[in-house]
Structure formats: structure tokens, C-alpha cells
């Protein structure tokens, strides 16, 4: 494998703690994400991985800690801020707009880039029409990239699970994000589908230079495609480093395989 080069740190999380009432979900978690890398978060069920993503894109607001994004220090992200900064995500349980077609779902992903006002949209003429066509071009590129041309006009509610996952990835890509948060993109897939999805993740990272933060349970995939891995367990941070370092860490082995008492 060739040597991968990364840019500066674009997202830095320091001492993040999150509780819901007495329930401590995240306990003093610190890690950073460098530009252009594939960063994985792993851990057993209930470790706080999804909560971590929710903190990054502003759905949850941590009680302690600070988030540095593009050199700006803040206590918490706001949802619309995160979207504006180019942080896109997919969900563990697919969160597509079920009544809309694949095309419309991905077009909606570009809503922040559409500037024409309601008046022009009512006429569907001039600026608004030009904009629709321009963005359609961009969306068609994503559709080609993800190889979903055939389901362009199908309502997503009718699509099989694997395809829905792919459309959701397309919707996140439509925002041309700087950081892409993927919450278990390969859960419930067979080997071929997992290979397809891994290929897409690597291609996105390679072609668009998108930084990727990935949650995944399939260790084979994680160890194969990640540059660095952070391991969580019960809201605590067990390890952080390259796949090799993490794989040989005794705490991680204990957490996954159990410790004899």
C-alpha cells in the first residue's frame, strides 16, 4: 500500500462528555480528524459511537469539552451550522424521504446551494429553472458515480435496503461535504454489497478528497480501509491509532473478547 498523505487537523474534539440525566453516554473523549483521512469509530453496542457523530453534527450538545472546527473553538455545534460548514451524514437506520424519488432525495441534499426565492420558483422560469438544471447536472454525476441510474425516478420507499443505503449516501454527497459522517453504512449487507459500499467509500475519499468518519461493526472492513481508528466502550475511550496499533491493544482485545474473571 502506498503512503497516504493527510492535511492539517480540521476537526479536533477535546474532553467531550455527554450525559442524559444520570446516564453518562460519553466520558472525556478526545480525538481529532485530519483532512483527507478515513477515520473509524468502533466499539461494542452502546459504546456511544452514534452519540459521538450526533455531537459532531450538532444533534446532541455535550455538557463538557470543546470542538475545534477549521481553527474555530466552540462548546457545541448547531445542526444548521454543521450543515453549512459542510458536515454531511448518513444514518444507522435509513432516514430517507420515503415519498420522494431517488432523484428528488438527492436534489434535496443540495438545498443549501439553491438560492432562487419562492417567487421565481412559483414561475419555474429564469433563475429558478436555470438553477434546477445546473443542480440536476451535478446530481446526475452523483447518480452515475453510485451506479443508480436505473432507479432515478423510483420512489425510495419501494427500493431494497441496500439501494436505500446507497441513495442515502448520494444525498449526503450532494452537499459536496468536507466531512462525511457514515453511521454503519454496511450494516445488514451481504459480502458483495459490502464490497460495493467499501469501494464507494474509498472512491469518495480518493476522487473528491472528502474526509470520512466511519462507524462500522465489520472489523475486516474497518481494519482494511481506515487510516486511524478510535475505540469506544461504555462511553470511555479505549484506544486511538492506526489499525495495527488498535488491533494489538490489550484493552481493545479485552473489550471485544471479554476478560476471564
Amino acid at each position: 500500500m502506498y503512503e497516504r498523505k493527510f492535511g492539517e487537523v480540521i476537526l479536533d474534539l477535546k474532553g467531550i462528555s455527554l450525559s442524559f440525566g444520570a446516564m453518562r453516554v460519553l466520558n472525556n473523549i478526545s480525538f481529532n480528524v485530519r483532512k483527507g483521512e478515513i477515520r473509524s469509530i468502533i466499539g461494542p453496542n452502546g459504546a456511544g459511537k452514534s452519540s459521538m457523530l450526533n455531537v459532531i453534527n450538532g444533534v446532541y450538545h455535550p455538557q463538557e469539552g470543546e470542538i475545534t472546527f477549521r481553527g474555530e473553538v466552540r462548546k457545541e455545534m448547531k445542526v444548521h451550522e454543521a450543515a453549512g460548514f459542510g458536515i454531511a451524514r448518513t444514518f444507522q437506520n435509513i432516514a430517507l424521504f420515503k415519498g420522494m424519488s431517488t432523484l428528488d432525495n438527492i436534489m434535496t441534499g443540495r438545498n443549501l446551494k439553491m438560492k432562487s426565492n419562492m417567487f421565481w420558483q412559483a414561475l419555474y422560469w429564469g433563475k429558478a429553472q436555470k438553477e434546477e438544471i445546473e443542480h440536476r447536472k451535478k446530481v446526475e454525476e452523483i447518480i452515475d458515480f453510485l451506479e443508480i441510474q436505473a432507479i432515478r425516478k423510483t420512489p425510495v420507499g419501494r427500493l431494497p435496503y441496500g439501494m436505500q443505503k446507497r441513495v442515502e449516501l448520494g444525498r449526503a454527497l450532494a452537499a459536496e461535504p468536507e466531512i462525511l459522517l457514515l453511521d454503519e453504512p454496511m450494516a445488514g449487507m451481504n459480502v458483495e454489497e459490502k464490497e460495493d459500499m467499501s469501494r464507494f467509500v474509498l472512491d469518495i475519499n480518493d476522487e473528491f478528497g472528502t474526509t470520512i468518519v466511519l462507524i462500522e461493526h465489520d472489523m475486516g472492513v474497518v481494519m482494511d480501509i481506515s487510516d486511524r481508528v478510535v475505540v469506544l466502550d461504555y462511553g470511555r475511550q479505549l484506544a486511538d491509532g492506526t489499525p495495527d496499533v488498535v488491533r494489538n491493544n490489550q484493552d481493545v482485545i479485552d473489550a471485544y473478547l471479554g476478560v476471564p474473571h
Binding site: 445542526v79 419562492m118 420558483q121
Partner: protein, 359 residues
């Protein structure tokens, strides 16, 4: 066999994004418009135009308005009647305060005033959803009707609480309101406005704002994460929906009945419009027209049907049978196709594409 898009190739996104990308659909719509504008006024009696086509069109407009809010943006509302009343009384106040104002401006401004009222009652939608929002909008329904009854200012202190539309002209000296307007002129005026507003609504729902509305309807958390702001998006839906309902109310009072009291827009009206979009199809412009046709035309058909077949049934029995058959048919259609008549039409088209082959 006849309805097949095979061989129709789109060379540009512009052609693919047209309202009706399939040629046969375009012909069909032009044919319907030709019938509506030319044939119906020529062959129909005044009774048909005045008591069937006019309410059908105006209630279809109100149904489009509610469909924007409930069908597209997913905000359940029972305040349609109240918003129609707001439009009617706003139009009356405008027309009597500024007697020279053109009727199109009166409609536009009364729609805008209703949009403002809609925004006001839409603010709670940020916090409450579903049935709870329906109850909140029900409050607006009762409040608005109470207000128009309570304060004489709205009716220019008329002792009966009834407002009467002053005679107004549309183009040249063609009267479209008041006692001397011909039914044909009224019909064509209402038809033009409803067609125009239906087209504008179609444009909105296939643009960015329409996609944002549907995103909020289908999965509000995901919508927020991709950058859609909840409050402005929902309020825009309330504003535009009330705008349409307001114009529908103004048309009802001015063009259809000529004089109206607040009770014409009571909660039953709200339910009537809601049934229209449920039966016609949520999230479909065509569904609003189909639903309105179903609700307006079916009772008339049912009450006349025995007469056509030469059956001699007493009038009171007919009206009872009518209510029973009407209810049974609503249940029947909802069981056959819970997504409404518009979906039934969609399925028919999909079948027609393959006909005469089963798949």
C-alpha cells in the same frame, strides 16, 4: 398500447423536468383545458355552471391549499374554513373600503392577508405535530369564525352579519360578481384563477421549496441535518396554503354565493376540504380536483340517479339513501386505495403502459 412513452427521448434536463414529460399526458391536459374553457360553458345550463362547476372549482382550490400544508408539508390542519372566512371578509373589507380596486387586486390582497393570519397560527407547528397540531388549528377555526361574528366592523355593521359582494368587473365591463353577472362569466373567471394557481402550485412543489416541504413531511430530523430550517419552511407552507384558502374563500363569497355569513365557513367546511384531499390523494394537485369532484358531484348524482332510472322514491328517503351510499362509497374507496383517487389514476397509467400485456 396508446399510452406508452417508448420512443420519446429527452435530450436535455429541461425537457425531462417538464411538468408533463410524456406526450400523451400533455395532450390529455390540453384536451381537459379545452373542454373546461370552451365546451362546458357552451353546452351547460346555468344550473350546472352555477351550482355544480363553480363550487367544484372553488373547493378544489381550497383543497389544493390544504394539500400544500397537509399533503406536501405534512402539517395536519383543521383550520381551512377559518382561513377561507378570513379571505372572504378581507376581500369584503377591501372592496368596500377601496371601491375602485380591481377584483384581481382584491383577491391578491385578501390572499396575502390570509397568508399573514396563517403564519400567525402556524407558529405552534414548530413545537407540536400531528393530531396535536390539528387541535391547535381547530382553535384557529373557532376563533376566526367567532371574531367575524363578534365584531361588526368586519361586516360593516350589517345587522344580519351577512356580507354581500359589490358588483365588480374583471376585463372591460364584464361583471363577475353581484346579481347582474352572468353565470358563464363567473365560471370562466373562477376557472382562469384556479387554473393559474394550480399551475403556480405545481411549479412550487417541483422546485426546491416543494422538496423541502416533502423532506419535512417524510423525515424532519434528516431534513434538519441536511440544512433545512424547520420554522421558515413550515411557515412558508402555512403562508402559501392560507394564501390559496383565502383566495378560495373570497371567490366563494364574491363569485359563487354573492353573499355569505361566517357560518358558511364553519368547521364542517374544514372537514369537507380535509375529506377531499384524503379521498383525492395527499400530496397531489390532481388529487385535489378529483377529491373535490367526488365530494361535490357524487351527492348530486346520487340524489338524481333514482329519478333518471324512472324510480319514484320520496324525497326524504332519497336524501337518507344518499347519505348512506355516500358514506359507503367513501369507505369503499379508502379500502381499495388508501392513497386516494390520484394514486388509482397513477396505477391505471402504469397498467396502461404495459397493456395488453400483464407485465
Amino acid at each position: 398500447m396508446f399510452y406508452r412513452e417508448a420512443g420519446e427521448f429527452k435530450a436535455s434536463y429541461k425537457a425531462d423536468q417538464a411538468i408533463l414529460p410524456i406526450r400523451q399526458d400533455r395532450w390529455f391536459i390540453w384536451a381537459i383545458l379545452a373542454v373546461a374553457f370552451l365546451v362546458i360553458p357552451a353546452v351547460s345550463s346555468d344550473y350546472w355552471l352555477g351550482t355544480i362547476m363553480l363550487p367544484f372549482l372553488i373547493l378544489a382550490l381550497a383543497a389544493i391549499g390544504l394539500n400544500v400544508l397537509t399533503g406536501y408539508a405534512g402539517q395536519l390542519s383543521l383550520g381551512t374554513g377559518g382561513f377561507m372566512a378570513t379571505g372572504a371578509f378581507a376581500a369584503y373589507k377591501l372592496a368596500t373600503m377601496f371601491p375602485g380596486m380591481h377584483i384581481l387586486l382584491v383577491l391578491l390582497f385578501s390572499g396575502t392577508i390570509t397568508a399573514g393570519v396563517g403564519i400567525l397560527f402556524g407558529i405552534p407547528s414548530l413545537r407540536i405535530k400531528g393530531f396535536y397540531l390539528a387541535v391547535a388549528t381547530l382553535a384557529s377555526q373557532f376563533f376566526l369564525i367567532w371574531m367575524f361574528n363578534k365584531f361588526g366592523w368586519f361586516t360593516n355593521y350589517s345587522s344580519s352579519g351577512v356580507i354581500s359582494a359589490p358588483p365588480m368587473t374583471a376585463i372591460g365591463d364584464v361583471l363577475v360578481t353581484g346579481a347582474h353577472a352572468t353565470v358563464t362569466a363567473k365560471y370562466l373567471f373562477a376557472l382562469s384563477i384556479v387554473t393559474l394557481l394550480a399551475l403556480i402550485t405545481k411549479n412550487l412543489v417541483r422546485s426546491n421549496i416543494g422538496r423541502e416541504w416533502m423532506a419535512v413531511r417524510d423525515m424532519d430530523i434528516a431534513a434538519e441535518i441536511i440544512g433545512i430550517k424547520m420554522l421558515p419552511t413550515k411557515l412558508k407552507a402555512f403562508a402559501y396554503s392560507s394564501f390559496l384558502c383565502g383566495i378560495a374563500g373570497a371567490l366563494w363569497a364574491f363569485v359563487h354565493t354573492g353573499s355569505v355569513e361566517p357560518l358558511a365557513f364553519d368547521v364542517n367546511r374544514s372537514f369537507q376540504i380535509l375529506f377531499m384531499i384524503i379521498i383525492g390523494g395527499l400530496g397531489s394537485i390532481m388529487g385535489a380536483f378529483l377529491g373535490s369532484a367526488f365530494i361535490v358531484l357524487l351527492p348530486i348524482f346520487l340524489s338524481n340517479a333514482p329519478h333518471w332510472f324512472g324510480l319514484d322514491i320520496p324525497v326524504d328517503l332519497i336524501s337518507h339513501i344518499e347519505a348512506m351510499v355516500f358514506g359507503a362509497l367513501i369507505i369503499f374507496f379508502l379500502i381499495v386505495e388508501p392513497h386516494g383517487l390520484a394514486r388509482l389514476w397513477q396505477i391505471t397509467k402504469e397498467k396502461l403502459r404495459l397493456w395488453p400485456f400483464p407485465y
